[in-house]
Structure formats: C-alpha cells, structure tokens
Symmetry: C2
Subunit: 220 residues, 2 copies
C-alpha cells in the first residue's frame, strides 16, 4: 500500500477506500463581505488553503476517488437551528437574517454556497449540516459505508471548529483520518497550530496530519 509521510506516523493510503472531505469552503466564511468578515474575523487567514484544496480535488478526481463537500447552513424555516445558537451573545446580526450575501447561513442562499475555486462537481456529495459535526443529522455515515470508505482525508475551514469536530467524530466511528496541514485554515493561526498538535498527540489519538505535497506525490 502507498505510504504517505505523516505525523505522528506514516499513513497507509488505502487508495480504493479513501475519500477527500472538504469542510465548509463557503462564501460566508471565506469571502470579503461574507458573514465571517462582517463579524470581524480575519478572512485573510483562511485564504491559503484554497489553492491546496483545488489541487487535492483535482488529484482525487483524476484517480476517480470520492470528493465530499460539507456546508454549515440551516433550513429557511430555521427549524434545525438551536435557539442557543441563534441567540448566544445577543448579536446584532443573526443566522437567518438578511446579510450581504442573502439570508445568513441559510441553505440555498448565495452566502452559504461554495467558493468557485473549490466548487463541487455535479456528481459529488454535498452535505448540508446544521452543526459543526458533519455526521450530526446528515447522510455522511451512510454514504461512507455504502462506498466502503474507511479512510478520510480532511481539508477545509476552520481547523479547530468544523474540521476538528468532524475529524474527532470520524475517529470515534473507526475511520482512519488524515488532515492536510496546508489544506486547512483558521481565523486564528494559534488555534490551527495547537489543533494540529493535539490531534496527533498521544500516538495519534485522533489521527494523522501531512503536507499536501507528500499526499499529491502518492496520487500522481
């Protein structure tokens, strides 16, 4: 089996049972004028993963391996939006309100859609999720079982929120998880750095991390 140089150990790339998962590459989290930007988050800090993810998507597609996309968003009627999530901190602009890119974090609105650089192909799974965890109230687990996927390569934003949460839950479910270090970003570089370290601590308690170049080499 191909071996990818990784931390804390080399990663066996079980090539026919691996999927790429791209977490929340949505306009509202990444683009100028989006929800995160209007909240004062440093969107400049989440740009560098974009071309890396594009390269990985291309490599997975070339190898006819699944590419999965998640987006955090809610139903237009807000029925899947926890009260605590909407109200916390009594913000001036809430989920469901009208923002610069349509209603904030509502499925189908421009802001909750994906950035064009990492846009899903028509034949790729798109998971709309109401939480940070991509397994909660979604079809992800069924899809992975159906396709015999046992390993997940993680990319996306933000590292310590939706990426970490999904990776920790995937690990609980028995998946081998590899996070691409330069394929994930956070508004807070110190959170990204510490998250990468904690995921791989104690002998890879949650999984592995690697550099994109080492993974791309194996996918040539």
């Amino acid at each position: 089996m191909p071996i990818v140089k990784a931390k804390p150990f080399d990663f066996e790339l079980n090539i026919n049972h691996t999927a790429l998962i791209c977490i929340d590459m949505q306009r509202d989290f990444i683009m100028a004028g989006g929800f995160a930007d209007t909240l004062g988050n440093k969107i400049a800090n989440v740009q560098s993963c974009i071309p890396v993810i594009a390269k990985l998507q291309e490599a997975f597609r070339r190898n006819t391996l699944p590419v999965i996309h998640t987006k955090e968003c809610h139903k237009p009627d807000l029925s899947d939006l926890p009260v605590a999530k909407r109200n916390r901190g009594n913000p001036s602009l809430r989920i469901g309100d009208r923002g610069n890119l349509g209603r904030i974090l509502i499925d189908g609105e421009a802001g909750s859609d994906f950035i064009h650089e990492n846009y899903p192909r028509e034949d790729e799974l798109v998971i709309s999720k109401p939480g940070k965890d991509s397994f909660y109230r979604t079809e992800l687990l069924d899809y992975l079982y159906t396709r015999n996927i046992g390993s997940l390569v993680f990319t996306g934003v933000t590292t310590e929120v939706c990426v970490q949460t999904t990776m920790r839950n995937a690990n609980d479910r028995g998946f081998d998880c590899l996070l691409v270090e330069d394929g994930t970003d956070s508004y807070f570089p110190e959170f990204k750095e510490m998250t990468l370290r904690s995921l791989t601590s104690q002998g890879g308690i949650v999984g592995y991390t690697c550099k994109s170049e080492d993974l791309l080499e194996m996918l040539k």
Copy 2:
C-alpha cells in the same frame, strides 16, 4: 435567573434544567500505575481538577440536580472497539490487553472504574462510551431530554479530547454548555489553555467557561 460570571459572556444558570457532567474521571487516566501513566502521560497534570469536581458534585447533589458520569471503555469482547483505535501506532500494550489495573479500558475492570474522590452515587447516571464523544452510542441524549435538561456544566479529563469533543457535540444539539476552567485538566497544559480559548472564541462559538468559585457561589 442566577447569573454566573463567565467568558465570553455571563452565563444564565437555568437552575432547574442544568446537569453536571463529569467526564472520564477514571483510574486508568488519572492514577499512578494506570494506563495513561504507563504510556508516559504526565498524570501529575490531571490531579488538580479532582477536589474541584468533588466540590461541584457535592453542590449539585445538595441542590438535587443531576450529576452524570462518563467513562471511556469497551465491551469485554471488543466488539465496540474500532480496529483503527486498537492498532494505531502498533503499541506494545493495547486496549483489551492485561495492564496493571486489569484489562485496559474494558468495562467492569478496575482501571476503567472511577477514582474514589469523584465516585458516582448509586442513583446517578453512568455512561459507558466507546469513543471520545459522550453522545456516540450512548443513552445520554435520551436522558437529557427525559429530564428536561437544557444546560450542561462540564468537568473532567482530558480537556482537549473527551471534554471538548462532548462539549462541541452538545452544542450542536442545542445545549448551553459551561466548562469549569479549574474543573478540567489535560496532560498538556498548553492544550488545555488553547482549548478553553477556542471554545469561547467568536462570541462563544461552542459555549462558556467559568471559575468553580463563581459557580459554587450561585449553588450555595
């Protein structure tokens, strides 16, 4: 409603709908000679939360509020142990093997049981969980709905692993989550510190943290 001084905002203590959750205060993670100790983890770093948790347990019991205990462990036949979890890093001592305190992380063995300082009372819920997340394959969510619990006070070990994972998943499920800063510990103080900061960043994206003295004052 009583208000507890907390980060990033004060926390409304919805006293009749709140439970204390004590994560994984197990011998194998905390005591000398336990599994964590034999792996080389610094168990000295996870001692200071013990008396704090004991005080909180006493205060919740005095107010007849639920105290919930979780433990990470597997069935004796290992049927709920993911292959990846058992084999990762090819360790010399694996889950299910015989260690200093019985079979490692197996339900019913001495090592997977709770330390005496924070031991559950007979009438308190004990959750045996195969993962880091206390909701995965457990009865926790049903219990919380049945008892009309909407707020969770978090304590236990380790901060960045089982505590954080459960708190993030509780937040996805709509619970108001308050983590007691001195009621949780990690083998790695820098992971604890960064986890507390990341949970409360972006306007309390996962929830709140407080000092035990401020919470205990409200429970007097």
